[in-house]
Symmetry: D5
Subunit: 141 residues, 10 copies
């Protein structure tokens, strides 16, 4: 059973180097677990979409919820899907600095990433627009 899960969290003690290490490990793990998705990191806030088997996505989300690198982990969206929308990346990373600020404003009250105020449907739409308009980086993939 395929599912899609989106969550938000606040980074806890993450710097650029640590983020790169996390992303690298995540890509290795995800490729093995059949998980795909995209991560956004901006101003200390994570928003990530995960797609894959139900057991694998639940297990990965549970590890994230327990990780010291994440605080205030909140589920934004979770649904059974018949096909993936983000199948192209074992874990892509959206570069918000290259993003037209109007994209964030289109779905948010302010032109900053604040997933804690996003509904699930808007979160999916925002990820789809990020994939179309932002540069998705996959270093080392």
């Amino acid at each position: 059973m395929l599912v899609r899960l989106i969550y938000a969290s606040r980074a806890s003690g993450i710097d650029g180097e640590k983020l790169s290490a996390i992303m690298k490990a995540s890509r290795t793990h995800n490729a093995a677990a059949g998980i795909t998705g995209v991560l956004v990191f901006s101003d200390g806030i994570f928003m990530q979409v995960l797609e894959g088997g139900r057991d694998e996505v639940s297990a990965l989300y549970n590890r994230i919820a327990q990780s010291r690198s994440h605080r205030d982990v909140v589920l934004l969206d979770y649904e059974e899907i018949s096909e993936r929308r983000f199948a192209g990346w074992s874990m892509g990373q959206a570069n918000l600095s290259r993003l037209n600020p109007g994209v964030l404003l289109k779905y948010s009250e302010r032109a900053v990433l604040d997933p804690y105020k996003l509904g699930g449907q808007a979160a999916v739409a925002l990820f789809e627009e990020l994939v179309q308009t932002a540069v998705i980086a996959c270093p080392g993939q």
Copy 2:
């Protein structure tokens, strides 16, 4: 929570200079408050669409309803939205003099702007057609 609000009003003691000042102040305020939208001003009648957070849009509308520059303020449309349609302007201004009169006639009984006779759905459709066909001025933006 994002909302869209459209209202109509009659100008009270507004000349071109005062309108410019209002627009300039409005753009500054709106950019700070995350509000976007478009204003139409024609023959002493305002029609404006506002998009943004529910609290901010309500507060702005309440100020307009109390302002001495507006009389007969009437709500035309108000809805919760998952994405903005007029995200491109902190406050655009439609120049009706460049408008094909047929556009007004398409939604109205006469070829003049009379929002007091417009339903909410037609008001949204008219704003969208204005954005596509009229020149939206953003002096100083």
Copy 3:
């Protein structure tokens, strides 16, 4: 409130000159009343679509129903609309002699204009196809 009304009638004592006079007067009146539409006249039968404010369209239809130029006036369609479909003509006139007879056959039992056998939905469809395929004349407009 915008409405669309379609009626059929039989001409009573109308020749080409009289028809031209009627059309000319109709365009002047309609432009003032905010009424738009298209007239078809063929073999002594009128079929006309009127769009505009509810009061104005009702008043115009009532005058037509009393006019000595029209007999057997029958309503084919009447509906509240949020936007006009025939906004481009204060009163266009379809020239059936330039029409592919197949267009009439597509909506009718025979390849002649007989609106007395047309349902309302087919009448709207026929007018839309006339606008697309026939030459709409607007002498003096």
Copy 4:
């Protein structure tokens, strides 16, 4: 082809005696023409629903539009129907004085009969509620 037509008008020189005569003649005519319906008369305003064959309903409406007893005749609703909703009366008459004022308020801005402000859909709904809650008089039927 069956149709339903609803119109509003202002009475012109109608007193109780004349109204009774109109109703009596109307029932005789309608029974012969296969027309059924309900009339509301209140404070000098008529609102009437007519159901029957398209030609017969059009002809009757055209006579009403020309009658000296009616002014400001406005079409509220007109639709092709596959079955009648008001088949029980050759012409019923709703007695508004026995009506709960809340019924008018439910569909109108004020608790008085003002069909000139009613949309077509609300006019049908009001007639159906009148039939259920008001006493429909059919003197002489």
Copy 5:
């Protein structure tokens, strides 16, 4: 054109006596203006639904937004309606103390009235459930 409007506000300097006076005046005014609705007042927070003509409801809401008795006035819902749902009260008052707390919990995160967190659809549903389960008081009506 009938509309329904729901807003929330915080009371500013309101005691029981003042509230009674407000309600009494409101009922007199609303009956004259054709406005109906229900008010909830709990722990210093108002939530009110207003139904009536568009001009009248807008004018009343604008007065409330300017009133010194209300702070933080926020629009929760506004829609054009073809029939009223709260036509029975010129202004009913829901007595929350007689309410099963589960009703609030059904629509809210906590079992207290906090309309500032309610979406428009949930606000309508809550008012309908209040009407069915709470005692609506109409002193002096």
Copy 6:
């Protein structure tokens, strides 16, 4: 924002006494956090539905995912809701021993509780049928 979340897990070192303690603590916590729901425990497997504010439900689920009492925690369903379906219990407990085995069979391949094979929609339907047919115990509530 209200959400509903359903998860399954395997109990890890839970006996009847410990379960009672967990339920008691859960009811105290949930009442304070505005969370409602129902728990099923059978043959070492938990299935639980949680309803409440998004932050509170996410936080509670994250604690469960980290708890030593739960293994193999899998998300079955998560959705934004406009009203709760299980608002009656701060945490009800379904007694499967009083359940007609046909109820489990209706939604499952075998007549035992195996939520790891349930889709989200079937999980919601099963909980609703449990509420209607099983005895929900609320000791100490």
Copy 7:
């Protein structure tokens, strides 16, 4: 493949005795052919609904179309069905003399049976109302 067919025809040289003979033969044939249905005969006009296998219903209709007892045979409705609506009669006969005339008026322009003016959908609805309100005679069945 099951189908339903409705036709209308004018009787040609049919008296009561001949009609009885036709009905009797028809019931014998239909029971053998798996055909069910209802016949209406009034003022020299037949309207009949036939249900059964596609080949059998086509063959029976073709015989009727060639029969000297029927003139002006016109198809009113023909559709593939997944279940019969008139399965109870090998050939029932509706007795219009016991029918409330309002039933005919509900679907027709006049209160007489004139299937030549009925659409297919109204014909099915009329048969269903006949079955519910008229006495269906099955002499000899």
Copy 8:
């Protein structure tokens, strides 16, 4: 009232010369009767779609059902239509020998024309695909 009728039949004593004569007579008759359509003839089997007024199409079908040239006449489809799909031919003739056999296979169990096994919906779809892909011959039209 416009209808579409599709039937199948087996030819009885038809050779190429006779078929040409039938087609020629049919085009003359149909043009006069306002009937349009397409005929397929293959391996002794006819399948034909007829569009036109209800009375005319019924009368033509009844003549075909009685004709000695047709055996086993079976109705495949009959429906009231608001516009014709095969208005271009007084009677076109599809040349199956120029047809891609895959077209027949797409709608049938075998790659031969066997309308006796076609449902009504598939028969319409097959005719539309024939019009798009086969050469429709209209000798003498």
Copy 9:
């Protein structure tokens, strides 16, 4: 994953005694495999609905297709279901001799059980009507 499967077959060398033995064995097996359903046997023809896990239902159907007791095994319906409709019987047996023949006629061309001519949708509807109207025997269950 739950599925429903319906098939038809012709019995091959089955007498009453053998059928009883088959039913008895089938109930034991099905209870163990979580399969439920209903069997109809009439005039040497079986029609059976099976519900359960996808693997179990496929395996059982494959055994039936290979069994010497069944010839001409044809699939009538197969669909993924979220809940069972025939959960009450490990294998019920419908007694057609107690059935109103009209039930068969409602779904079939003739009043006998001939599943080879039934579509999948009609097969499901027939089973549901059998469950409601026939006596379902479960000897030894």
Copy 10:
């Protein structure tokens, strides 16, 4: 009656040579039986879609279920169709080695063919995407 059937199975003692022989025989048989479809074979697993007449497809599936070359035969999808989607091949063979692995991942938990975990709807979608993106081989066709 046309149907589509999809099944999965594990190959039992199949090598390349045997597969070629099976495919060759299958194409001959299918062309004669009016069956079309596509076969996928990868890592010892078959997934095949069959389209054709209901009797023919059932008979072919039953032979496959009994064949020694197939184990663990499971039905994935079965539906009545009005037109085929895979009419182009008497039996095409998808070459997964030329397939973008992302196509499998889009519908599956892992980037390998595992039809035992596919729902029926995803199986149809996967076959359609295979036809569009993989090379379908038809040796000897």
